[in-house]
Symmetry: D2
Subunit: 367 residues, 4 copies
Amino acid sequence: MSLNSFGHLFRVTTWGESHGPALGATVDGCPPGVAIDEGMLQHWLDRRKPGQSKFTTQRREADAVEILSGVFEGQTTGTPVQLMIRNTDQRSKDYGDIAEKFRPGHADITYWQKYGIRDYRGGGRSSARETAARVAAGGIARAALATLAPGLRITGYMVQMGAQGIDRARFDWDEIGNNPFWAPDAQAAAHWATDLDELRKSGNSVGAVVEVTARGVPAGLGAPVYGKLDTDLAAAMMSINAVKGVEIGEGMAAATLTGVENADEIFMGNDGQPVYSSNHAGGILGGISTGQDVVVRFAVKPTSSILTPRRTITRSGETSEIVTKGRHDPCVGIRAVPVGEAMMACVLLDHILLHRGQVGENRGKIG
Amino acid sequence: MSLNSFGHLFRVTTWGESHGPALGATVDGCPPGVAIDEGMLQHWLDRRKPGQSKFTTQRREADAVEILSGVFEGQTTGTPVQLMIRNTDQRSKDYGDIAEKFRPGHADITYWQKYGIRDYRGGGRSSARETAARVAAGGIARAALATLAPGLRITGYMVQMGAQGIDRARFDWDEIGNNPFWAPDAQAAAHWATDLDELRKSGNSVGAVVEVTARGVPAGLGAPVYGKLDTDLAAAMMSINAVKGVEIGEGMAAATLTGVENADEIFMGNDGQPVYSSNHAGGILGGISTGQDVVVRFAVKPTSSILTPRRTITRSGETSEIVTKGRHDPCVGIRAVPVGEAMMACVLLDHILLHRGQVGENRGKIG
Amino acid sequence: MSLNSFGHLFRVTTWGESHGPALGATVDGCPPGVAIDEGMLQHWLDRRKPGQSKFTTQRREADAVEILSGVFEGQTTGTPVQLMIRNTDQRSKDYGDIAEKFRPGHADITYWQKYGIRDYRGGGRSSARETAARVAAGGIARAALATLAPGLRITGYMVQMGAQGIDRARFDWDEIGNNPFWAPDAQAAAHWATDLDELRKSGNSVGAVVEVTARGVPAGLGAPVYGKLDTDLAAAMMSINAVKGVEIGEGMAAATLTGVENADEIFMGNDGQPVYSSNHAGGILGGISTGQDVVVRFAVKPTSSILTPRRTITRSGETSEIVTKGRHDPCVGIRAVPVGEAMMACVLLDHILLHRGQVGENRGKIG
Amino acid sequence: MSLNSFGHLFRVTTWGESHGPALGATVDGCPPGVAIDEGMLQHWLDRRKPGQSKFTTQRREADAVEILSGVFEGQTTGTPVQLMIRNTDQRSKDYGDIAEKFRPGHADITYWQKYGIRDYRGGGRSSARETAARVAAGGIARAALATLAPGLRITGYMVQMGAQGIDRARFDWDEIGNNPFWAPDAQAAAHWATDLDELRKSGNSVGAVVEVTARGVPAGLGAPVYGKLDTDLAAAMMSINAVKGVEIGEGMAAATLTGVENADEIFMGNDGQPVYSSNHAGGILGGISTGQDVVVRFAVKPTSSILTPRRTITRSGETSEIVTKGRHDPCVGIRAVPVGEAMMACVLLDHILLHRGQVGENRGKIG
């Protein structure tokens, strides 16, 4: 039981601090024979990489991933894959103040209270930099999924920044890659750009909601009652830095529905598979996938490292104030999009392997 | 790795079906020397028991718990505690239709798709009856917490039913036990009673939001980055039947805040412990408890077993309609309240044991 | 992580004390659709049951197993199977002395030192009675194996009692069921009968070596480097009460061989599968099965509960002597035979499921 | 659940292949505040390093360990420690023949049968080179034990090579470091030197028995009934390359004893702690440490990579012969000594943490 690991059969352990020599992921349980190379993983890492627009931190990390084990002649061998990313741009001097003071809303104080020692440089282990390792591991999951669930597509996008949500009527899958917010609604993206610019200049930050949809998920994934697909997704997303809420399908709004409204009625499709009148369930019933789109949303709180002074205390208990200079994302939600996708890929692969192991092909046929 | 287990050191495995001979929980990792008896567990089970008001299912289960192991002369011995609850009121004939048809919004179809066999009687393993085992296990956790974290109090309550939330200005801890909804706001409870009565009579059901607060939680519980306290709470709550969303502190609304607003500013309290200007964090920063109240909310969808006919298919793929007679809760959120409390108790005890094991008393002192 | 559980995907948690109300096993991860009934499990339990000859304890337990969950209309459903065995013949008065004194060579003292409380009646949790739960769980594993690995046969037998081993030249599979020692050598069994009778009458006990062979094991089971098949078998056997040594294939004697002698040379068989000149490896190379017989041996120490007085101390630290009356096996190795078989069945099923999940059918073909 | 991990709370995952870019260990669960540096780990690695005498492989690896995470200003922080060792002397050309043929007694064939792909260079993942990562992780465990169990001393040594054992009457702790065999008996070491030289020259290899003793182990470590201290030790040692048998205390010879002989009688020592007349138990009763020396032995089979030709088959199923040139240890038992020590250190630390977490200081006092 490692508390820095997630997954059952596809098991990822991340390690490393923001300003240590390197960070990475130990990925165990990837099936053998999956074609992997560093370029393929780099593709996903580049989507998360800082410094790509004025809306993300100006720290410039190459985020170049190195495969140290588990791949032979371009294919996984079934042994652990070690992924390492060297830290290169640690301007540690920026963080002098943080050694002594706790940022409100940040893990500074709790790490100290728990461990009595903390690597304060850049947030150490609590830095969102850890998510680079998740994205790299997610790249391996995606490669394995390409073989095991060929029709599967995983897409993340931002649906809300501050109080401003997207207009679902304008939802356009093709728009997502066209703007720095991964927004499926160009108009919302334009609004967010204006708003965020203003917030950034005023030394402030803002929260966001990210949605990740998996299309083409096989029915039957998940396992009652504590290895549920939604349980594992909730844990996966809640484990991402700054996340404060997770929703499946209708999410918190399910509370407002009646049973009549909430029922996703079932029909037989032309291909002999069940189809549904709606997807309030977010593709999961009783913890098991229905074959509909799996839809997860999570809320990311605003960055706590801001230029506006906030009152706090020092390690020795003195009253103080803090202003976090450094280089920080005004809306960490943006860079959480590829991270959410990576977590979805890891969870789905894990459950495909679990299903194959525990159940085999012995599925219930309908019709 | 059992997918019917949760917890790390305090590990609970539940078993049993709604209409099988019995259900229960295997509870491993409870420290030795904890005073336990069946009456103590029964107290918590009685709070969850069906048939206590017209707002819950009329199934009348004694829910009498039997301790089969791990307790000697009134104290835990450090060996597994087996808790068994016999099923007594299984009117299985009520469920005839369900053998062939899938209820929309229910796990019927996914269990079939996954396993190719399902105990359809009363929902089998997917029935909320499983949560009786959680409540019993939670009773053991509470008994252990009484010694290990003496000031800790865990309280669950409903904060929303359908579109109608409580008024936080009227929040009254003492009101919670006075109404059948565990509402901290008597006025909301009265409204809900009227609404639910109407819904029930019309053969419909409705969703709800439950909040669970833990007061007196020691600082330093939780473990980055995948054994976070909030990660484990999210998984615990999402694993409860019908839950579709989980929030910590500000939850989904964190997306709407700026960094300036979201900062819970830190001061030194008179007792030499940090105090905070607010609790947007819900008592958890970086996955580790701050010492503030730990606040979790979860949304429960409306019961899918309703008297209003819904379109569905049969196991052989024929178009059909279903009306679920049986005896069902019009708002399962009500009976989810003690379940949420039990999950909170289990997770907190688990993290107290983990902290003691992995860190010991080596905590960071402030001041 | 429950320390009373074993297995990865096929996960068994045992619970219960020797003189509590009941004991049993929570079996999670059995594939759905496996035909199971209580009679089938009883068959295996009856082989381990006490009181069947003068060479085993005279305690008379019905050891009747009850299936409480996870089986519907005679088949497993993929949900946890709860197996319960009521304790019926607890003559607790026999154990009065043990409440205060520690038996030399017994877990009495260490349970006390660890937990500060122990259920001393009949050894409590440390009693070999716990192995009844293993045998029941093993019955489920065997039923699943019948489908998943049809040619597999698991057979346990005693190969040594005290200093006297069997003569391998007389090894006869058919003899094993014919004598109370599960000996494959009738002549050895006859000797043991005489020896054990004498030892029993003199208030003494004796150790034994048990061997378990699995024939028809598919190649490719196991997983380097800590989930090795031999690692899991070693853990499984060492976890049985009174076991002090475990060997795979050549075992400890492998130390005496040269590389030339130890090489199991490889040829192609007529069926296109590799065949070997010998089986020093015991069917496992690098932690993975070769397809040869998997051969495990374990040594069981003599029962520590004997009628000969031994010097010891009381709980309050006073010098004393102890004579254990009760009803005890003069050679616990005999009843360990079905237990070893059960553990082998559980481990093999587990690794079949793991292989199916993590690798699928993607095996390397030879030729 | 990673099959390349071991330990419960102190959890080590190793990764890497013999001829890949690097290998290492991800060490999670080390308590915070433990003083660690690379030099300290290097000390232990140097003991295992190849090429130190003519009795070990002539491969010359620097085995220089790099700490990539989890240590800040010379102390562990409670976050994962990543240890990396670059491979530098991979003379891969030596292994040409192995790409096509399977060495008898080696994992070549089973890796192929399981995965359908294998990194054959130097044995890939199945190479004993993996044990360097264990030794490095063991160094961290030792550093933590220095604080948590100050009196604990772990010492490994060879007690048998081929048919020739040490003479226990000549056992000398101080001799162990004086000869290339870690032998506690100088005379045995001299014999082994002559024998092994001869074997090596004749292109052969030989097996050995290694014993590891831990002195000063606190009573109360271990956890029934599957997290037993001896179970975990058996698994740890069996997971080491080439190990075919594991013994605790009397080991396989326990079978030959009577209950009267085997009873380690108990007395009160002058310091108020129990003392024993003997240690047949090897310091463990019922899976829990007694406070006596914990004694584990394991048999290492002879290296399968030998210069004497052995019959085998090729990947395409053709009959062939193989001679393994490369650079191999004629007796891998020698280099297994520090590996056994490392595993002992990891298991003991793990159980100290588990005991602290699950039981606390609530131990049973005697007297």
